[in-house]
């Protein structure tokens, strides 16, 4: 492997690892707030217990999230120094702000974790609110830099590569910032909702559990279904806006996502299949006539630009079509699943049948896959650029051959940590089962 590829693999796998924990870190505080609020309204101790148990899980995962976040933050400078040289001049503001957002989260997390019993209820809810706010703000601010890489703004580059006329605010509010930030936030909330629903569904599928425990898990499942339904729908609506943003700001990426080669009006949407370079089209796909044009511009006659408008060496890898479809496909499934489950329970007032619980169990891991696919799509879809049309990835990366040593050790670390986190979570919650906590109430 050459150094650039190794740097990309190392950074990509670090992000792929971090994003699992970071997503949970952003979403779980929202679930904890909802449980705290339910407890406040209903005075039902199950909700207080829920908040406490989720917080325990959160504390374990947060450690990995913080550690891997530190890795990502520093690796970015180590592996892509030329990129960070430009970032430092143009878009360091969100990084600075992120630190303060994170500091707020860290301080209030410690307060919520270790001082909850010494705080009045109002202050306790306020501190978890600050945790959630800090976490979400961090996600939004980091996403800002990511959005800026996709749609750079707020500076000019001279012939010699010097950065001039920097406008910090213009860079901060770059064209794709708002829509991407909403996308990341809503999908994080969604993912955590479906993960919690997964766990509750697994417990509910067990035959021999007490009625108290069954009731407890049903309450947890309902909170996550409501949040999951709302957030998956929100993500989809926002996804539509994202497509329109791509159409205007980065048509090359949209064309790659859809495997569209020729510029066309009345463009069809290809669902599934893979993009074949030889055939110049997406093979084995279901085509929905006019749908792509409509998605891109709200009109069937919208002209959608195809890949052939760009030189081939500037195309992203064509497999991003698959990544894009995995993300959208799972998102659509999850909307259907959560609304069906809610319809079943709230309108039909029936209990969840086994098959539905089974589907809900799968929903959590699927939502994580969707998140991973989405990030991969966004970053691989930007290739060959690190900063679109400004800095090619080959120029951004380090030239130090020592990357190979780090690549191997970090990959090992991530695999080990995935297992150890899973092990510790299982160990802790096996030692402290819900029945025991329910009995202690």
């Amino acid at each position: 492997m050459d150094i650039v590829v190794m740097s990309r693999v190392l950074f990509g796998s670090s992000m792929g690892f971090h994003i699992i924990y970071a997503t949970i870190g952003v979403g779980l505080p929202i679930m904890i707030i909802l449980a705290e609020i339910m407890y406040w309204i209903k005075k039902d101790k199950d909700y207080a217990l829920m908040a406490r148990r989720w917080t325990k899980g959160f504390a374990i995962l947060l450690a990995v999230s913080i550690a891997s976040g530190t890795i990502v933050a520093v690796l970015l400078s180590l592996l892509f120094p030329n990129f960070m040289e430009i970032v430092g001049q143009v878009i360091s503001l969100p990084f600075q702000l992120e630190i303060f957002a994170f500091l707020i989260e860290a301080v209030f997390m410690s307060i919520y974790l270790y001082a909850a019993d010494r705080l009045p209820q109002g202050l306790r809810v306020l501190s978890i609110f600050f945790v959630a706010m800090g976490a979400t703000a961090s996600a939004i601010l980091i996403t800002d830099v990511h959005a800026w890489m996709n749609t750079p703004a707020g500076f000019e580059m001279t012939e010699s590569g010097a950065i001039i006329n920097v406008n910090v605010m213009e860079a901060f509010f770059n064209p794709s910032f708002v829509v991407t930030a909403i996308h990341v936030t809503l999908s994080a909330y969604m993912t955590v909702a479906f993960l919690v629903a997964s766990i509750a569904a697994i417990r509910l599928m067990k035959r021999h559990i007490s009625n108290e425990e069954r009731a407890y898990h049903k309450k947890a499942l309902m909170i996550s279904l409501y949040l999951g339904a709302a957030m998956s729908l929100g993500t989809a609506i926002n996804g539509h806006e994202t497509a329109q943003m791509l159409h205007e700001q980065n048509p090359r990426k949209l064309a790659a996502a859809e495997g569209l080669f020729e510029t066309t009006t009345y463009a069809p949407l290809s669902v599934g299949g893979y993009t074949s370079l030889e055939d110049g089209r997406v093979k084995y796909a279901i085509e929905i006539p006019y749908a792509l044009s409509f998605l891109a511009g709200d009109r069937f006659d919208t002209e959608v630009i195809g890949l052939n408008e760009f030189p081939e060496e500037l195309w992203p890898p064509l497999y991003v079509h698959i990544l894009f479809n995995v993300m959208v496909g799972i998102g659509t499934l999850l909307i259907a699943l959560s609304f069906l489950a809610l319809f079943w329970k709230v309108v039909l007032k029936k209990d969840f049948p086994g098959w539905m619980l089974g589907l809900l169990v799968v929903g959590g891991p699927l939502s994580v896959i969707a998140i991973e696919a989405g990030w991969c799509f966004s970053c691989i879809g930007r290739q060959p650029w690190t900063i679109t049309d400004v800095l090619p990835t080959a120029d951004a990366a380090t030239k130090s051959s020592s990357v190979s040593i780090l690549l191997f050790t970090f990959l090992t670390l991530y695999v080990v940590l995935l297992f150890v986190t899973g092990f510790v979570m299982r160990y802790y919650f096996k030692r402290n089962p819900v029945e025991k906590d329910l009995a202690a109430q």
Partner: protein, 341 residues
């Protein structure tokens, strides 16, 4: 003051804060490991009680330092990252093991020992790695191949100054954390822990200062410029030693309860000691980030952007002050937290 001088002063202050917090953090992890299973003293419990709520905040200061470095001195990233790729990369790896295992230890009782030992030992290697970057900046360990800077690993690893720097870093870390935990034990009125930490502070103090002085003597020929600068500035370093003596003497003064040692006073003097030493060292290091290839003026960002970032820092810390005060009262003052069983 020049904007770039102001920037390096702020960066240096962040380094000072992280050096202090990091010493407490990694040091407490080490003491927690050593005394984790010892029934004769509560030193282990005290260390872990301090560590649980604070490590996240400490970790943030590490990230603040890196982000401030990149945004104040963007033109330094290429050189710094190619030289420091391996030491910083390994540091990150160990930091991750240390952080996660430390938290895992609190949640998996049966495996607490092995988790805590791993975390304690990695916690000791990290500061060693961090401080090993200092000699790299002094000159003599960098070579340019095709205009691209390379770290001379063989020369660095064979040079005594590396090991003296590491010894200096570790003794300093353990000394500072011992004095602080002594004070923390006093706040918790836990006298077995207090005496344990005082005992360690007593032998670590003189050793740390002796090693600090010897380290200067081991610097390579290429680094003679900084030795000259240090020797040209005897007042500050002398003052630093004076505050060490004051702090060390406070460990022997009897308090009104007849117990030996004024922990808070000692802690204050020692912080001043290291504050003066770090700024004096920083002053001697100017104008270079890495001698002789990288100066602060060459790597500095656009001043107008720097001033904007400065406003962000001021506002950010202003918002955080109340949170820090609450934090302080809950975990470093509140007897209900300090004395829990």
């Amino acid at each position: 003051m020049e904007a770039s001088t102001l920037a390096i002063t702020i960066l240096w202050s962040l380094l000072f804060i992280y050096a202090m917090l990091g010493s407490l953090d990694f040091g407490a992890g080490f003491w927690g490991m050593i005394y984790g299973k010892d029934d004769r003293t509560n030193a282990g419990q005290i260390a872990n009680r301090f560590l649980s709520p604070t490590w996240e905040v400490t970790n943030v200061f590490f990230v603040i330092f890196v982000v401030a470095l990149v945004s104040f001195f963007p033109f330094a990233t290429t050189m710094l990252s190619s030289l420091l790729l391996v030491p910083v990369g390994l540091g990150l790896l160990l930091l991750t093991i240390r952080t996660t295992f430390m938290v895992f230890a609190n949640h998996a009782n049966r495996y607490q020992n092995i988790l805590r030992i791993t975390s304690g030992i990695t916690g000791l290697i990290i500061p060693a790695l961090l401080v090993s970057m200092l000699p790299i900046t002094l000159g003599g360990f960098v070579e340019f191949v095709d205009d691209y800077p390379q770290l001379l690993y063989g020369k660095l690893l064979a040079h005594p100054t590396l090991y003296m720097h590491i010894a200096f870093g570790l003794t300093t870390e353990l000394f500072i954390s011992a004095v602080f935990l002594m004070d923390y034990s006093k706040e918790a009125e836990d006298w077995s822990a207090y005496h344990t930490y005082r005992k360690h502070a007593l032998w670590l103090g003189p050793i740390s200062i002796a090693i600090a002085m010897l380290t200067i003597g081991t610097m390579p020929e290429e680094a003679s410029w900084i030795v000259d600068n240090i020797e040209a500035n005897p007042v500050w370093f002398g003052l630093s030693v004076a505050f060490f003596i004051l702090g060390y003497a406070s460990l022997y003064i009897k308090s009104k309860h007849g117990r030996k040692g004024l922990a808070r006073l000692a802690m204050t003097f020692i912080i001043i000691q290291y504050g003066i030493a770090i700024y004096a060292y920083g002053l001697a290091h100017l104008p270079y980030l890495i001698y002789p290839d990288l100066t602060i003026a060459d790597s500095f960002t656009d001043p107008s952007i720097f001033y904007k970032l400065l406003v962000v820092y001021a506002a950010g810390f202003a918002i955080l002050v109340p949170a820090f005060i609450l934090f302080w009262r809950l975990f470093l003052k509140d007897q209900r937290y300090l004395k829990q069983q």
